[in-house]
Amino acid sequence: MTTTRIDAPLKVTGRARYGSDHNLPGMLYGHVMTSTIANGEIVAMDVAAAQAAPGVVAVYTPFDPLTLRTPTTPMLGDTWVPLQDRTVTHYGQPVAFVVAETYEQARDASALVEVSYDERPARTSLAGNLELAEDAPPGLDGEPSSSVVLAEGVESIEDALASSPVVVGGRYSTPTQNHAAMEPHSAVAHWDADGLTVYSGNQGAFVQQADLAAALEVDPSAVHTVNPFVGGAFGGKGRTSVPAFLAAAASRALGRPVKAALSREQVFTATANRPETLQEITLGADRDGTLIAVRHDSWCSADTDRSFVEPTSATSRVAYRTPNLAVSQKVVPLHIPRTTFMRAPGEAPGSFALESAMDELAVALDMDPIELRLRNGSLGPAGSDLQWSSKYLDDCYRIGAEHFGWSSRTPTGRREGDWLVGMGTATAMFPALRFPTTTEITLQADDTALVSVGGSDPGTGLLTVMALLGAEALDLGPERITPRLGLSAYPPGGMSGGSTATASVGSAIVAAASAVLEELQSLASAPDAPFAGQDVTYADGRVLGGGRSMTFGELLSALGRDTISAIGSAAPGEEMTKHSFSSFGAQFCEVRVHRWTGDVRVSRMLGVFDAGRIVNDQAARSQLKGGMIWGVSAALHEGLEIEDDGRLANGDLAGYLLPVNADIPEIDVQFVQHPDTLHNPVGARGIGEIGVVGMAAAVANAVYNATGVRVRHTPITIEDLLEGLPS
């Protein structure tokens, strides 16, 4: 199936209203102010000048706060709420909220607030503070963060490596990264007799509803969150944002609507980032390339609350078959902005390290990197008896190699004039997950249907997928389905996160459709109904029985009904005891490195993905291309530089480099489609994150192939290459 995005016409005309696009009568503007130290106590704040400034209505600080309680959810744990205490734990922490009649007045007045700090020395370097490392807590799946699997008779991972004929190893590092969604975190909040309404982009209306209800100590039924359009999220809008908490609380206190948005610079410090990582990997193999031992030790940065762990070592648990495996994961609390999930958390930086190391092993073995990977393909996660439900990674590599012209690659690249040209590859994997989800389907007398869920489509294409899967489940054309999401009034589920939405919502749609069609047929054959006492069936939008048929709309009209509705729920179940589930992919890229300047240009990219059934071909390709470009960005562009005192050296969109159009070549995406109905009834596994996975390594491996220079960190810069370029 393929169809253009249902919300595209609204988005190309400016009619799609995102959170801060809402303007309400009598609305005030709030401006957040942030700390200029990374560690210490706020001793005093002088707000007199700000309060006296034109248009200012209120100035909130930790000395005169808006009361907010800390929300806690099973998935995210505690969510930090601003202005509740005077301790500063990172540079750029929100410390005040100025509310005024206009945006300019709030912004200008915020510059008049004076803060006195008792400053303490800050710890901001991951590499410089490894002595503070703590064992990471178990992952969300309950897996311990460190584990060892040894073959019978092997005493230790050290022994396994020592007895391996070929051993490679290295220390890899990846920087702090920011989601940098184009929409800064923002909110418009107002209160009326029905309670609180908040317009604020997030990854699940029901998640934000629960956070705000807990923070404001009101019943969730009195909180209405509205965000059908979300300007990008990538994990950075899973938690409710600072402007949403503050706008909601200030609106309640002031009795007027309040709009608040973070500045772009504040997004880098007052939301949360992907942690920095250090990873040590050692691979031991036989001379034929068969892995004997894998060791992967990781450290990641964290804020002082240790609110998130970037589980990079987990990559080595799933990628390759090895009789001996030791992984560990440590976390280092620092005075840095908070850390959180970012597109392929763990897998993205973890695969950079592991897939670079695999390339190094291929070089040491003088073996084709694809052959090495195929030889060691995993059957399931290490230490688990549950094999992958469906795995066609070998096909991905075979098809990819053929289309990409891999056979023309030489171990030392090739030269075209002043350009050194290399090819690289890497494996991509991302777990296939789904979350408990409820959807509602409403059949209407005009022969159309509504499909509703409280989740979000921050560019993923979920809205269009809902129309396609709703159409399939109701045996109707997709033009007769109106998909609806982004309101807390809709049933909970379909959160944008973990590449889960299609499998989660799709499964719930199957259940809801079954329930509503059952209800329809039972109404049809009830006493006094058009098919009273008859056996009826349903197909193609019609109820059939006794040799005649009616559309469901005609039937509803005959019954005097406008609509009938049913909800359906779906959740992971027995399948989890039978198989392990993952998507797979083979990433390819070609780079051109200028022999005199060290400039790296990606010239071609191909990704071949085994992600089960693809529901909407066009949007799926777009999302995977976007993910692959994120891999290029990680490899060559982005990285947050945190200085010793905690300031960000490049915390804006001029300094935090992202690829622009001219950086990106044509990209090819292909699918190996084997619906995975062992995982869910739709057969689709997630594709939101796997596009990122492995691509940074594929770029680094291509750079090595072109130049002979192995760079074990990202982003790879000209300075990393200049010295080693062949003369």
């Binding site: 750029g92 510059a111 300007g231």
Partner: protein, 182 residues
Amino acid sequence: MIIRFPVYGLTSQHPPMPHHRLGGHAARKRIPVDISLEVNGRTENLDVEPGVTLLDALRERLDVTGPKKGCDRGQCGACTVHVGGRPVLSCLTLVATVREPVTTVDGLATGDALHPVQQAFVDQDALQCGFCTSGQIMSAVAAVEQDVDDVREFMSGNLCRCSAYPNIVAAIEQVRRADAVV
């Protein structure tokens, strides 16, 4: 050690400024400016302070919310509009300086008929989250009108974090092909 300096709320990346540099700020006399502005074919009258940007005037005074604030620094391009037919960054343009008609993405379609560039963005899936799209489209319209040699280079002032870049290029090429046929 106790240090004492103002929080610098506007651009947190700047070094702290000495207190006296900001002291006169609140006391500064504010002189509103009367402005008459043509936006998407309508004449709008505004009474704003001189420091108000075209972007904030459009979004917060006129409820024209197609142009987006992605950075407020001219770094992302999401606020791109046309002034007198030329693409400009509305976040770096003071509204009081605007003399020529303003066109935003909201005013590009003719009734229900999408502009060919808008239609091409739909056809080629040249958007995902859609937040940068209004700026991308205004730059893309300029790229088509100016018949630029290097589309990728021309479009590089508009960031797209969803990274729809190849599809944006395809959308522009679709319009250029159609124009070539005509």
